[in-house]
Amino acid sequence: MAEPLIRIENVVKQYTRDTQVLTVLDGLSLEVEKGDFVALMGPSGSGKTTLLNLIAGIDRPTSGRILVGADEVSAMSEGALARWRSENVGFIFQLYNLVPVLTAFENVELPLLLTRLSKAERKKQAETALAVVALSDRLDHYPRQLSGGQEQRVAIARAIATDPALLVADEPTGDLDSKSGEEILVLLERLHSEFGKTIVMVTHDPKAAARAHRLVHLDKGVLKEDVRAKGEKGEIGVAAAAAIAAGR
């Protein structure tokens, strides 16, 4: 078995709304191996996006520990966490979240501005990332000049620009038509298989989940099912993902 990249130990996440305490994750423990492609599924409110946020270090658990590699993410200061995110995690959002006043190139260059790279090095790295997502011909286009699928590809280029080990995706195909969604899934699969990225993806879509190698099903903040595809390069499969999503 490969070494775990992510270790989630007995994590509880509670929110307080007025006087009510809402438990979103209830003592969850999970390990994700380096180079794995995991789909997180579950009904709305099951805690999958919260779990993704905790893994990515943009939220903190109420209790429990989260380790990514050798770093205990749950114990880091805010400043250290920001630095850690910029170096170790790439984010892909459902609504792409590109900066509308910046070109595709400038959007991809954004996370690189936080590094010590020279302007020329930043340019080279951003152009390489855009080449990976096949958008070398759209460097100077603004988000409004791109289709939804192209916007998401720019967002993926932004996520991989700093070459992080971990990619987290929150419903990456949720706002796309099926053709564009398929292109994005193929791209994610490529990032996983060719570039060795560890991917954790939240999705409602069995077709998207089917591309993952492991499917974790959450319900009411607890792990309900954890299924791994058979074989070295196996995928979960649409039927199995649909069945798990339906709770069968």
């Binding site: 919260t50 946020n53 990515a56 943009i58 939220d59 805010e78 400043g79 920001a82 630095r83 850690w84 995110r85 910029s86 170096e87 984010f91 959002f93 459902q94 609504l95 979240n97 900066v99 509308p100 006043v101 910046l102 400038e106 954004l110 996370p111 501005l113 936080l114 302007k119 932004r158």
Partner: protein, 385 residues
């Protein structure tokens, strides 16, 4: 520096709003500069330093009360007095009472006046032409242009406070700080109105040293303290400031208006920055997700606010510099010419204007910047819906 393009692009993502905000900073900035310049002009020395040695003696009660001409000899004998002369306000009407026909009219001692006001130069005609003609007038260069007068032209001042009409002839033209006045021999008033003979409105003293300027007011006033016409002696600057104070507490009024304007800019900028930050809650959350720390987010938003106000300040500065000569020329041809004479582009006024605007930009940006930096990332991302 590498974040400058992002700041600049963010600033103009709503071009119309940003331009309107800049305009709404430019206009108040312009007004602050005008008010500040007028305020500074009140204190400005327009005599090239020569006015520092001038003192004015008047009746202790008010300028409306006369003092005896006999004081002249006693004042002239005091140690430290270099020269002394008489200046009597005449008033009167030229043509009508419209503001454009208002200007200073003084009866004086022609052979003494230029010794006291030695920064004044005769630019047309000669001092002798003027002093040798009892009905001659020394006229300011600006006034000559206003009325299209030439040497030898005659004009009539219709008496009001002093009920005597004066027919005067332009004999010489002067250039000085206030070029909208006329000066004539006081004897022409006394000849037409014998009742005022021997009465003086003000004595003007030229002191021979800075020490004498300090000492003479006390000495002169002590000399006439127990007379029927006690005096008040003050420096030229104090005398002029007395006129300003007649307008009320000008400084307080101007400062009050400037403060109100500063607050208006603050509210406008704060509103713009709050709107800009509110519209970008998700974007800021995304930036933080990418690793932009709170201090950097704070800096970027403050930089936007500062850039906005700095643009407004520098556009306002440019406009003020362009408009200043026109403004000064307009005021110099108005009844405010005396105040406008000291107007110049005071660096302290311009720097204060820029400073206030930048400070306002900083203050306006702080609250939205802190709010944006403090908001939790998941909350910011959820704003998408």
């Amino acid at each position: 520096m590498k974040f400058v393009p992002y700041v600049f692009r963010s600033l103009f993502r709503k071009k119309t709003r940003s331009i309107l905000t800049i305009v709404s900073i430019v206009l108040p900035f312009f007004v602050i500069c005008v008010l500040g310049t007028l305020l500074m002009a009140l204190d400005a020395d327009t005599s090239g330093g020569k006015g520092m040695y001038r003192l004015v003696v008047r009746h202790k009660v008010s300028l409306g009360n006369a003092i005896p001409e006999a004081y002249r000899e006693r004042i002239a004998q005091l140690p430290g007095v270099k020269d002394v002369t008489i200046l009597n306000w005449f008033g009167g009407t030229y043509k009508d009472n419209r503001p454009e026909n208002m200007f200073a009219r003084f009866g004086c001692e022609p052979d003494q006046l230029l010794a006291i006001f030695d920064e004044v130069t005769i630019v047309n005609g000669t001092a002798a032409d003027w002093t040798s003609d009892r009905s001659g007038a020394l006229v300011g260069e600006r006034l000559m242009k206003r009325y299209g007068w030439k040497l030898g032209d005659k004009f009539v001042l219709k008496g009001d406070y002093y009920p005597v009409n004066l027919e005067l002839t332009v004999r010489a033209v002067f250039r000085g700080s206030d070029e909208t006045g006329i000066y004539f021999d006081r004897k022409v008033v006394e000849e037409g109105l014998p009742a005022v003979k021997g009465q003086v409105g003000t004595f003007w003293i030229k002191a021979d040293s800075a020490e004498a300027v300090q000492r003479l007011p006390r000495v002169v006033d002590a000399l006439f303290e127990n007379s029927s016409a006690p005096t008040k002696t003050e420096t030229e600057k104090e005398f002029q400031n007395g006129f300003v104070s007649m307008l009320g507490n000008v400084r307080a009024i101007v400062t009050g208006i400037s403060t109100a304007i500063g607050l208006v800019i603050l509210l406008i900028s704060a509103n713009t920055m709050a709107m800009a930050a509110r519209e970008r809650v998700t974007e800021i959350a995304v930036l933080r997700t990418l690793g932009f720390g709170k201090p950097l987010i704070l800096t970027l938003i403050l930089a936007e606010s500062l850039f906005l106000s700095a643009t407004g300040a520098f556009v306002g500065l440019g406009l003020f510099r362009l408009a200043f000569p026109v403004l000064k020329e307009g005021l110099l041809n108005s009844p405010m010419a005396g105040f406008a004479a000291g107007m110049q582009l005071f660096p302290e006024v311009l720097l204060t204007g820029v400073g206030i605007t930048l400070l306002v930009g900083l203050v306006a940006g702080i609250v939205p910047a802190i709010r944006s930096a403090q908001r939790s990332i998941p909350d910011g991302l959820r704003q998408v819906g």
